[in-house]
Subunit: 243 residues, 2 copies
Amino acid sequence: MDAERRIRALGFSERDAKTLADHFLDAERRGKRGHGLSRVGWLASLPDLEPSARPERVTDRPGFQRWHGRGALGYLTLDAICAAQIAEPPDDARLVVADRCFPTGMLGYWARRVAEGGLVVVLTATSPPRLGHPAGGPKVAGTNPLAIGIPSKTSAPLVSDVSMGQVTYGDVIAGVASEDELVPFGGPQAHKAFALAVALQLLVDALVSEPGYGAVMFVARPQADPLPRLRELAHGVRLPGDS
Amino acid sequence: MDAERRIRALGFSERDAKTLADHFLDAERRGKRGHGLSRVGWLASLPDLEPSARPERVTDRPGFQRWHGRGALGYLTLDAICAAQIAEPPDDARLVVADRCFPTGMLGYWARRVAEGGLVVVLTATSPPRLGHPAGGPKVAGTNPLAIGIPSKTSAPLVSDVSMGQVTYGDVIAGVASEDELVPFGGPQAHKAFALAVALQLLVDALVSEPGYGAVMFVARPQADPLPRLRELAHGVRLPGDS
């Protein structure tokens, strides 16, 4: 298909091109154009694109893994991390820290995949500073989304994916929002989204082993299956991530 | 002091009364009246108060602990959990699940304590369903705050503590807000706070081993000390948790 061919032409392997195209096409289907096909041209514009780079798992201990992008795109690093969590789930829980993991796209996409693999997952990732305090001042935090995925034995997982920006930078790239609108969400309570963005920024920055944009994922084996009861309680109300 | 004496009179030990009074007085100092001294009378009104109950650590494996309130107040369960994390930090990271842990007060208070003990911490806890979808429908999630604490070698930690409600239930108890105002925060983007509240609800509900309100804490050893640079970058802007 066209997207894959265009990505292949940038020098990516067939497999990596498919991984990237799948992500961009899923974004288009979900109406998240900022994370969609507009990213192909954006990739082509990156001065330091290394299409043959491979992420590496540098530490693997009970309850903890550290990965390093080694120049690979964040999408491909998260793809490898998700596959590893599903292939070898933790006995109880695991913290996964990804050094040099950028760009990462829609975090909900990766959370959905891990949750479909049967694990509870929490994922965040940093990006260039684009949010400042609602009262003004310098931009100190990325839009730093927080994605949470909850598996269920009887239905699709619940996936929540909340960016702390009122719009995404992807929306700005896609031309559907202006840079001025890129402020913490929440209007009169935007200090809450700002607090989350700053704290998630520092969470990642405190756990990576070298400065740079990174990702932090927690995975755990579920003990219970609370989603069916919640859906019943919600009585048809649309829940996060439902299409 | 008066608060402690009143709590002692409910049957709590001297130590537990001090733990509870410290929490309520800190809330008053921070202007979070809903979590402050109004809670003493509220405790007295609880039909199933068990002042001599003690929380128990039921599982302790590398990277994972499970605790059970065993009838103790959530404040006292979190107090014991915080002390245990600081006394025996994980080699890398640890997930702590607290079954039957309610009420928990200001989560930022516990996050601050763990961060002052040198650990990165993320904490959430569930409470009775009080938030519904911004478009209407049944209440399906608690206000489920998310607290994040980041230690620093050179300054006080950064502590972010964000409730997903526009007001807290504590504010309602304290009479400073009405129950109608207890909706997801964010105005036109309240679906974001709703998504976070629902996902945090399920995160806890999927990890506890018996139904009931619980708490989930992640702790990890920091690899870096990013807070001084962030404060520099923020150039005097007030950061989350600063007084």
